[in-house]
Symmetry: none
Subunit: 209 residues, 4 copies
Amino acid sequence: MGITERKHQGKRNSRQAIIKAARKVFSQKGFNRATVEEITSQAKLSPGTLYLHFKNKEELYTFLSIAVLKRFSSKIKDIVGCAIPVEEKTERYFDLFMDVYDHDPNILINLFHLQSGEALHHLSDEVMQQLKKYSALAYGSVVSTIKEGIEAGVYINECPMALADIVWGSYAGVVLWVNSKHLLNDQKDFVKSTLKIAFRIILQGMKRK
Amino acid sequence: MGITERKHQGKRNSRQAIIKAARKVFSQKGFNRATVEEITSQAKLSPGTLYLHFKNKEELYTFLSIAVLKRFSSKIKDIVGCAIPVEEKTERYFDLFMDVYDHDPNILINLFHLQSGEALHHLSDEVMQQLKKYSALAYGSVVSTIKEGIEAGVYINECPMALADIVWGSYAGVVLWVNSKHLLNDQKDFVKSTLKIAFRIILQGMKRK
Amino acid sequence: MGITERKHQGKRNSRQAIIKAARKVFSQKGFNRATVEEITSQAKLSPGTLYLHFKNKEELYTFLSIAVLKRFSSKIKDIVGCAIPVEEKTERYFDLFMDVYDHDPNILINLFHLQSGEALHHLSDEVMQQLKKYSALAYGSVVSTIKEGIEAGVYINECPMALADIVWGSYAGVVLWVNSKHLLNDQKDFVKSTLKIAFRIILQGMKRK
Amino acid sequence: MGITERKHQGKRNSRQAIIKAARKVFSQKGFNRATVEEITSQAKLSPGTLYLHFKNKEELYTFLSIAVLKRFSSKIKDIVGCAIPVEEKTERYFDLFMDVYDHDPNILINLFHLQSGEALHHLSDEVMQQLKKYSALAYGSVVSTIKEGIEAGVYINECPMALADIVWGSYAGVVLWVNSKHLLNDQKDFVKSTLKIAFRIILQGMKRK
DNA sequence: AATGAATGAGGCTTCATTCAT
DNA sequence: GATGAATGAAGCCTCATTCAT
């Protein structure tokens, strides 16, 4: 594609190209080892262009995480609102986790890094707000469903937040762990099957005897 | 402590000071944002001193991880060898995980980062060997106990390696997750109680009905 | 020159500025005492710019040497191919040595240092190949001409490689020696006149009686 | 050798050990890449000991050079004073050069580096004086013999200093050149035979026809 | 909107030198 | 006289970011 054509496709296009490239590069290398130069060159753009769309590297990174959280929280809200038994909701949660994983298996690593304190120091207030908002939404929905399950006598009687932490943490931990251990080309299926078992175990373990 | 006293205590001391400071700084900031300057100044030493003890920043980092793995794998081997029922072994594993956590709650973050590929590029062969050795030892022991449990009909009949990944990944994931979510001064007890629940859930879920 | 003008001239310019400054600083201080900071500041650029053009300090250094070798070997090949008597070829060699010296009297010091093992540890394969290639070309041409002279009964019957070593080593040695002994501003003419005598002596001495 | 015994052998011993080790290490690595740590550990001493005998690394380096110059100038003066024909003196010079080379083939590289400006910046006045004194003595003797040869009609009528530069520069240049080109284990004989030819050529070339 | 050359702060690492023992 | 742990200045290099075009 020549420079001329690309220019005519407007700002939207370069933004999408950067987002796509960033997902890939951040996934492969993590936040620190990923360079702006590599991301933009994979997007067939120049470094300066990144800064037309994002305030800095961190905000691009955070943007990717927020995107997942948005997707997540929106879908999870749908489930929470449904008039179906808790156990069926939980099944759907499982599908949702898998869906997110399919959509971008590595983006979860970003969310993790984000909270691990390696990034998050030069974010604008606006982005920070969004991050908190969607994070709270997604997390809150999980908590409320668990609470519902406890009240319904389905799940063990523990602090619902702790249980949500366990679900969420286990999910992310297992993905990261298996990912890093099995650096194969097609690890996606392997991770998914392990995740499937993990979920079954956790849900089984959370059930009141 | 004055210069005089410190010097009197020999090389050992500065090494320990660096290890201690490194544990703290790496935990707080992660590998990349932790600087050699900060680690050594917290140890009340000058930057050059670090290199009397460690080849570079990465090897210091890896050293910390290996130390945990060593501690872990040595204790875990003791448990594996015992002539006690699998379920009792699992109980002891739990104590061991807690013991490691008590000994240095943050060091696990290092192990995780280590495998995430953000570090590990300038390690000497010797250190790399050690890392692999102790990593395999610790992991292998968990796998063999799970296998024993499956054969004894106690645990569900799934790939033991997958189950080990789930145990290990969940543990690390929950620690990281809860740690990063609750950035309080005294989160240790909070994390531990969540971990306790997590273990109970997972063990319960792994049991054959 | 203002920033505006310089930027307008593209990447080429900064490269040339660095090469020019590097020649000067390396000549004055040698490889080790020359600092990247000094080279780039003399080029009115910032340190980072050097690394847009050269992988590291060593490759810049080597580049300068290869440039001379290229110039040298290309011209020397022309002479070798000519259908003229050996003695005339030798005359032209002399002119060539002087030409290289005129073009950059100090660059020979680089070649020397290069082989002395004080540099040459972080070169990329590509640069290393080039260095060897042009080095072999230049040296080989001298050897073949000497061989021709021996066979024609013009020069004494000694190992042609040894004779080439003597010609080359004497040339470089005399330049370095006179340069370092007479640290005057205008030593160029002095060196050249000494070189002229040296060549006359060596050629005379190499003749079969 | 235990610490106790070494201590009883007095200062002289450690000084000699350092000198010996320094000759070796400087020869192998050049001034910059040779480290104080390596020199002293080869001498089975600790770094601090070097500074009991030499003000700094440069002065140790210079000391080695001065030692050669001393040896050189003293022997050369003997030759100058002899009532023998110039041509015979020249023969003896040749033997002397070879003798120095045999005694320490690499020390000449030091002298060269010394003048190339990579060292020589932190010398005490006293050492600087010595360096100049013995340098002038050795060089002056060569010049005076050449002058004698010119006056006797043996050598071509050129500036005697230039001729001395050529002899000296060629010698050092050939050693360095051949040394660096043929990094073999037993290059000493190879260098010597090349030097022999070189001398023959230069002396022959200097003769008046 | 896009470029990409240039920047320069900041980090890692080395190693000659010191000094308390 | 000797030690050797510790120092800390100095150097190389990276890379997120800027800005003139």
